[in-house]
Symmetry: C2
Subunit: 243 residues, 2 copies
């Protein structure tokens, strides 16, 4: 296999079993606003709704409580917390919101986050990337160019995700690295919902190559600038599409 086969975009690692099933239904319902802030759910009600026992409901609720989506109080029930308290950085919450009616708000937030983080990550990567990282980055930049020319959107998306994830990881900052999956979700989302040009823009591709070259050369300033151009461009495109 080629050097480019990293596949950093790791498996989903969902929570298993029945609590997972409950979560997959309840979480999106809350995150999308279908169950509004302040709504009160009773445990027993959830048992019936999902046809599971208290054990399962309670475990699922605990997880939601950990994400600050709900709070459970005696004599009151399970209360949906105001949005402002939610753990908006939790990967599950992000995915749920991207899948639901909050999608555009979530994409905007993530867009700004990318503008802040990715250029900084590129600059750090220029300093901290390993030789393997640099080799793979070059390789991905080539793949990106090739698949863009072939207008092969799906594999192009895959390489794009891998590229950005690699830059974030190569920064050497664990928190940046963990945004790789999130960025992947954003890129996937905006492709699925056609929030970007249908043909990858040659200029954007060129910028990706520039980022790769600058990181390989250890030129932090150039890497940061090129990456900033990429992500601000993406944010502008997003704002254009969403009005």
């Amino acid at each position: 296999m080629g050097l480019a086969a990293a596949g950093v975009y790791a498996g989903r690692m969902e929570i298993q079993g029945l609590p997972g099933r409950v979560l997959d239904e309840l979480g999106p319902a809350i995150a999308s606003g279908e169950i509004p802030e302040g709504a009160v759910l009773r445990g027993e009600e959830l048992e019936e709704r999902f046809g599971v026992s208290r054990t399962v409901v309670r475990e699922a609720v605990r997880v939601l409580e950990g994400m600050r989506l709900v709070a459970s109080r005696r004599r009151v029930g399970i209360t949906v917390q105001p949005k402002s308290l939610w753990d908006v950085f939790d990967p599950m919450v992000i995915r749920w919101r991207l899948a639901g009616s909050d999608r555009s708000a979530q994409l905007r937030s993530l867009g700004s986050l990318r503008v802040a983080v990715e250029p900084a990550a590129a600059a750090l990567a220029a300093v901290h990337a390993t030789d393997d990282d640099r080799r793979e980055l070059s390789s991905l930049a080539v793949e990106l160019t090739v698949t863009a020319r072939a207008a092969d959107l799906t594999t192009f998306l895959g390489h794009d995700i891998a590229f950005h994830a690699l830059v974030l990881r190569a920064s050497g900052n664990e928190m940046f690295a963990h945004l790789g999956d999130t960025v992947g979700a954003v890129l996937t989302g905006r492709t699925e919902y056609h929030l970007m040009p249908h043909q990858p823009e040659p200029y954007a591709i060129r910028l990706h190559r520039e980022v790769a070259e600058a990181i390989c050369a250890g030129d932090a300033g150039h890497a940061e600038a090129a990456m900033r151009t990429i992500v601000t461009g993406a944010l502008e495109e997003l704002n254009r599409q969403l009005g």
Copy 2:
């Protein structure tokens, strides 16, 4: 009460009850590395260790599983996941790591994150802040100056936290806003562990005033630049102190 009393730094909202107690002990033990990666815990063992029932252990474990700190598999037990999978943005995980032996690594990561995010937030705040935000920001800048001169470290810290949280919130980006508590934890941590000058530096104070003024004036570029100087300075100081 004065305009400055926002107290955005919301209450801790810990998970309640016995599972919370278990979490408060088990979480830090894992996050600090005291229980190493790959270690396997059995449910029954945890029941004995904490003197609680299975229900409680299982709910606590589910929450840890939601943070990706552990994975629970049949016939094998509860295994501590490799660090690279942890949800490093989870506020609880951050607090646990800041309290434990990972403190310096966590502070470094957060330092870089601040450098990336806070200048961007300041620029956005210059555009999106409400009039109330601007008034309160000015007020906080004054308080900061006064308490710094009085060398009143504790209240100074409080105002510093409120200042940065307010800028993040005023950016209008929910994800930035949620980093307010995290930044608060960082500032508290570095004060507690004496990782900063014992006297607030007059230059840093001046920069805070500049940020406030720029945001009030709607000058995004200046706000961003001043904030960048603040956070890069903090990061450099951190690197100096940690070697």
